[in-house]
């Protein structure tokens, strides 16, 4: 019989919890062209996103959003904004923000500028 310690159960639970967020992928073809400025993002866009498929209901996709946030505000704020976006992706935001048609599919427009307008002004 398979025996798991409590710790192993927690690890599995955490991985299961995080999976839907990691799975928030964009169009692999598009993502490939946009070479990531950060090695982790680059790794995700090169190896994970193509396998996972184009399923993010938001525009820009979560990985593209993260890249833009990191480029605009640096790694620290970019990471926080990315985590915020992963929590919001595909939920209440689809009810609140405007829709656009991308690849013949309805997606929710939620760019970085719609989430940093209250503290950041583009130079």
């Amino acid at each position: 019989m398979l025996h798991c310690t409590r710790q192993e159960v927690w690890v599995i639970f955490v991985l299961i919890m995080i999976t839907p967020f990691i799975a928030c992928a964009g169009n692999p073809d598009v993502e490939k062209k946009q070479t990531g400025s950060h090695p982790i993002l680059g790794f995700y866009e090169r190896f994970i996103s193509p396998v996972d498929g184009d399923r993010c209901p938001m525009h820009p996709t979560c990985s593209a959003y993260t890249r833009e946030a990191v480029q605009r505000h640096g790694l620290f704020m970019g990471w926080i904004m990315a985590c915020d976006r992963l929590v919001r992706c595909g939920r209440d935001e689809t009810r609140i923000s405007p829709d656009i048609i991308k690849n013949k599919e309805r997606t929710t427009l939620d760019p970085v500028s719609a989430n940093d307008f209250w503290w950041y002004k583009e130079p």
């Binding site: 710790q7 919890m17 990471w79 904004m81 915020d84 992963l86 929590v87 209440d92």
Partner: protein, 316 residues
């Protein structure tokens, strides 16, 4: 004996008489055609375009929503008929064509030619308004406002002053999306300066109504949202984002418990990694809550403005 008064050598070159008789009608017919239609066979064929035809065609292009063609035709008009009385009007339309083509820099340059010396001529007044509109499109609201303020100082016409006040009021109303209450005050001051004679024309009451309804909007406080987010999900709940609140609560709780368990079971490496991930999501939860409050307020504000724009045409 061969009797002839011509040299026999020349005589051989002259065609025989029946041949000449056959050609005479052909030559006459050709001359007749050339007389009736002088352009026939010449290089200058077609019609001659005068100033009226050229200007009417340029205007037609405008009416047909083809600003690029209108621009070409207007330039042709001002080039070939520089002395025509309609040249200033054509120049104004050129500026409008640039505006429609989103060539705002060129449009500003064109409208600028009308500003000095100032007169109450309709083209000059319209150029001030068009210039302000162009600056607004360029995102240079300050410049747009300065142009209108200058017009307000220069004009003596009450009708123009009313129009300027209406435009300034609307501009301040749009700027109030930055949530600065002073913009709403400016909008109100300008709208209330419109004289009662044109109050209906500029929908003074309807705009004032929108200003007061924007003031009455139940706003979400970003500070309260941020402070509530100390307990994961509560900030989103405060901003009426129920799904986000639930996900935020579950995810943060799970990660905190997982990190705690890992440290408890003597696995600090795993605990540290989970805590690192959790720190991002926790900070994201606070950031998202504050951001959601700002977005909530902006959206309510925009809804009121959209309602106003649906019923009233903005003056600019």
């Amino acid at each position: 004996m061969n009797r002839t008064f011509l040299n026999p050598a020349i005589g051989r070159l002259v065609p025989p008489l029946p041949f000449i008789l056959l050609f005479i009608p052909v030559i006459l017919l050709t001359l007749l055609i050339l007389d009736v239609n002088p352009g026939f066979g010449s290089e200058k064929k077609g019609i001659y375009i005068d100033a009226d035809m050229q200007y009417e065609y340029a205007q037609q292009c405008f009416k047909d929503n083809d600003p690029s063609l209108a621009l070409v035709e207007l330039k042709r008009f001002t080039h070939f008929f520089p002395g025509d009385r309609r040249v200033p009007e054509a120049l104004f339309l050129t500026g409008k064509a640039y505006y429609d083509l989103e060539k705002y820099g060129e449009a500003v340059k064109t409208f600028e030619t009308f500003l000095f010396p100032f007169s109450e001529d309709s083209l000059v007044i319209e150029s001030y308004f068009m210039m302000a509109k162009t600056f607004q499109k360029m995102g240079r609201e300050g410049k747009a406002e300065t142009v209108l303020q200058n017009l307000l100082l220069l004009t003596d016409e009450i009708a123009t002053k009313d129009r300027v006040h209406s435009a300034l009021g609307w501009m301040a109303l749009k700027q109030s999306q930055s949530m600065d209450p002073r913009d709403l005050e400016r909008a109100e001051v300008n709208i209330n300066k419109i004289t009662s004679a044109r109050a209906q024309e500029y929908s003074k009451d309807r705009v004032n109504e929108t200003i007061s309804s924007i003031r009455q909007i139940k706003k979400k406080s970003p500070t309260i949202a941020g402070l509530s987010a100390v307990f994961p999900g509560m900030g989103f709940l405060y901003c009426e984002r129920y799904q986000d609140a639930l996900i935020s609560f579950l995810l943060n709780t799970a990660l905190i418990l997982a990190a705690h368990e890992s440290f408890d079971n003597g696995n600090p490496a795993l605990g540290g990694a989970i805590a690192f991930v959790e720190a991002g999501f926790y900070a994201g939860n606070i950031y998202g809550s504050i951001s959601s409050a700002h977005k909530f307020n902006l959206l309510s504000h925009q809804r009121n403005l959209e309602l106003l724009e649906r019923t009233v045409d903005p003056p600019l």
